[in-house]
C-alpha cells in the first residue's frame, strides 16, 4: 500500500522503511481518532439532551451531566482526555444503551468476527476453485467464468441476501430465517457476504494464475508429465495467491461494510447491526467507536501485510545477501 520497500541497500534500509511505516500507522490512527472527536464535537444537538432522552431536564441535572462529561472544559483538554481514554480502551458511553461503548462492541464482536471469517473463507475457496477450473483453459470456459465474476461483482449484497433468504429460508425452509446460534444459521449470511468478494477474488486469481502458467516452472512441470490440474494446484496456486495480499485492505473494508448490510438483512447480532441502528438513533459515541476500532484494525492489517510482504519477497532477500 505504502509504496514498495527499497530495492537494495540491505537490512538498515529495510529497518528504516519499517520504522517509517510504523510512524505512518501511528499518524493515521491518531488522525482517525481526531476525526472521530471532531465528529462528536461538531454533531448537531446537545449531548445532554441525547443522553437524557425525552425526559424533562432540570438545569441542575443538565449541569451535572455536563460536568460528568467534562463538556465545560476547554476543547484542548477535552481532546486530550478523549485520546487518553482511547489509549486505555475507553471508547465513550452509548447514549442508547447507557453502557460503555467498549462493552457494547465487545458483546457483539464475536458474532461479526465469526461471520467475517466464514465469508472470507468461502470467498477464497470459491475463487480458488473457479480459478483452477478456468484459468488458461478453453476460451468459452474463461468467458463464462468472467461473466460469472462480473455478475457476482455487480450484485448488491443486500439483494443477494434477500433472495437467498426468500428462497432457502421461507420457500424451501432449508436454513433458519433467524440465527439460532447453530452453524446452519451462519450459512446464508456467510454466503451473502462472500458472493461479491468471490467475484473480485476470482478475477484477480484467474489473471494471476494465467500469468504464472506462462512461467518456465510451468513448462518444466509439464515436461515432467504433470497433469494440467495438478500443475495448477501444486505449482501455480502458491504464486497466484500473492496478489491477493495486496487486496487485504480492500478485503477488510468490504467485510466490515458487508457486515453492516448482511447483519441487517438477516437480523443477526453483530457490530454491523449495532452500527446501523446507532446511525439511525444518532448514537454517535457508538458510531465513532466502531469507526476508530475498524480504522485501527485496518491499519494494523495493512501494516502486517506490508511488512510481511517486504520480508517475504525473495527479490528483497536477494538484495540483502
Amino acid at each position: 500500500m505504502k509504496g514498495l520497500p527499497p530495492p537494495a541497500g540491505g537490512l538498515a534500509l529495510l529497518r528504516h522503511w519499517v520504522v517509517r511505516r510504523l510512524a505512518l500507522a501511528v499518524v493515521v490512527v491518531l488522525g482517525a481518532a481526531s476525526a472521530a472527536f471532531a465528529g462528536l464535537w461538531l454533531a448537531p444537538g446537545d449531548p445532554v439532551q441525547l443522553i437524557v432522552g425525552s425526559h424533562e431536564v432540570t438545569p441542575e441535572v443538565a449541569a451535572r451531566v455536563r460536568d460528568d462529561l467534562g463538556l465545560d472544559e476547554p476543547l484542548v483538554v477535552q481532546y486530550g482526555r478523549f485520546l487518553g481514554r482511547l489509549l486505555s480502551g475507553d471508547l465513550g458511553h452509548s447514549y442508547q444503551a447507557s453502557r460503555p461503548v467498549a462493552d457494547v462492541l465487545g458483546d457483539q464482536a464475536a458474532a461479526t468476527v465469526e461471520l467475517a471469517l466464514a465469508g472470507f473463507l468461502l470467498a477464497l475457496l470459491g475463487a480458488v476453485l473457479l480459478a483452477v477450473a478456468t484459468a488458461g483453459r478453453r476460451p468459452w470456459l474463461r468467458r463464462a467464468s468472467s461473466a460469472v465474476e462480473l455478475v457476482l461483482g455487480s450484485t448488491p449484497a443486500f439483494w443477494a441476501g434477500i433472495v437467498l433468504l426468500t428462497l432457502f429460508s421461507f420457500r424451501w425452509q432449508l436454513f433458519p430465517a433467524v440465527d439460532g446460534g447453530g452453524l446452519d444459521g451462519l450459512v446464508l449470511p456467510a454466503v451473502t457476504l462472500a458472493l461479491p468478494m468471490l467475484g473480485v477474488f476470482a478475477q484477480v486469481l484467474r489473471e494471476s494464475m494465467e500469468r504464472s502458467l506462462e512461467e518456465p516452472y510451468a513448462l518444466s512441470a509439464r515436461a515432467r508429465g504433470s497433469g494440467e490440474t495438478a500443475l495448477r494446484l501444486r505449482h501455480s496456486l502458491r504464486h497466484t495467491l500473492v496478489p491477493l495480499l495486496t487486496l487485504s485492505g480492500w478485503t477488510v473494508g468490504s467485510l466490515l461494510s458487508g457486515a453492516v448490510v448482511v447483519e441487517t438483512v438477516f437480523s443477526r447480532q453483530g457490530i454491523g447491526r449495532i452500527t446501523a441502528s446507532a446511525i439511525s438513533a444518532r448514537d454517535l459515541p457508538v458510531v465513532t467507536g466502531v469507526v476508530v476500532v475498524s480504522a485501527v484494525v485496518f491499519t494494523v492489517v495493512n501494516l502486517l501485510v506490508d511488512v510481511g510482504y517486504a520480508i517475504a519477497d525473495p527479490r528483497l532477500k536477494e538484495s540483502l545477501r
Partner: protein, 297 residues
Amino acid sequence: MSVPALVPSRTPRTARPAVAALATLRRIPLGPLLAWAVLVLLAVAALTPGLLAPQPPNAVDPVNALAPPGSEHLLGTDQLGRDVYSRLVHGTRDSLVVGLGATGLALGAGALLGVLAATARAVVDEVLMRLTDILLAFPGLLLALLVIALLGPGTGHATLAIGLSMLPGFVRLARAQALLVGRADYVHHAVGFGQPRWTARLRHVVPNALPPLVVFATLSIAGAVIAGASLSFLGLGPQPPDPEWGAMLAEGRGQFEDAWALALGPGVAVLLTAAALTVVGRDLQRRLEGRHGHGRR
C-alpha cells in the same frame, strides 16, 4: 522444385463470404454494445421516466395491493398498491444521481487535490498525502456511515458521504499521473520554448493526466451505485415515498414470497446498471492502454 498440392484448399471459394461474415460478427464487441444499450435506456429512464412508465409512481391503491404481474401492472404492485414497474423506472434518477454525483465529486476534488499535491511545495504534498492516508484508514463504507451519522440521512448527504469515501483513491491517482506527465519531455520542451509554467500545466499536463482518471471514474461508478443503493436500503439515502431501488427493497421486506417481482426488480436494476458500467469502463480502459501501446492482452 515445385511441391504438388497434396491437400486441396480447405475453404472453397463459395464458403468465403460466410466465413468473412462470421469473422466480422466476432469482431463486433457484443458486450460493450449491450452495455451501452443498457446505459442509454437508463439515461432515458432517468431523464424522462414518464416516457417509459406513464403510470404515476406514488399513486396508492390499497385495494390492488400486492397484485401479481399482469397487463394492468407490468410487474405487479407493492404493499401499498403502487405500480412496481413505474416505481422502478422513476427510481432510476435517484439511484443514478447518488452514484454519478459521488463519483463526480470524488473525480473533481481528487483531480484538483492530486495535481496540487504533485505541483506544490513538498510540505503541502506531505500534508495532503497524510490526510489522504487518514481518509483511507476508514475502510469501505464506514467513512460514509460516519458522515451520515453526523449530517443525517438524505440523497445529498449520501452522495457527499460516498464521494468522500471515494476521494483518497482519486487524489492518489491524480497525483501519480500529474507527476508522471509533468516529467515528460514535451512538458520540459514547452517550458524550454518559453511557455509559462502554469500554461504548460494547463495545456499539457492536465489533458494528458486526465484519461486514466476518467477511466478510473467510470469503473468506480458501479461501486458508487451499489454503495448508494446499500445506504438507501439501510434507510440512510433518499427518503420515502420517493422511489429508489435500495429503498424499494427495504420497504417491500416481508412481502417477497407473495410478490416476487417486488424483490427481483430493484435488485436486477442495480445489477444491470453496475454490470453495464463495469463493462463500459473496462472497454475504455482497454482502448486507453492500447493507445499507449502497453495493453495487457
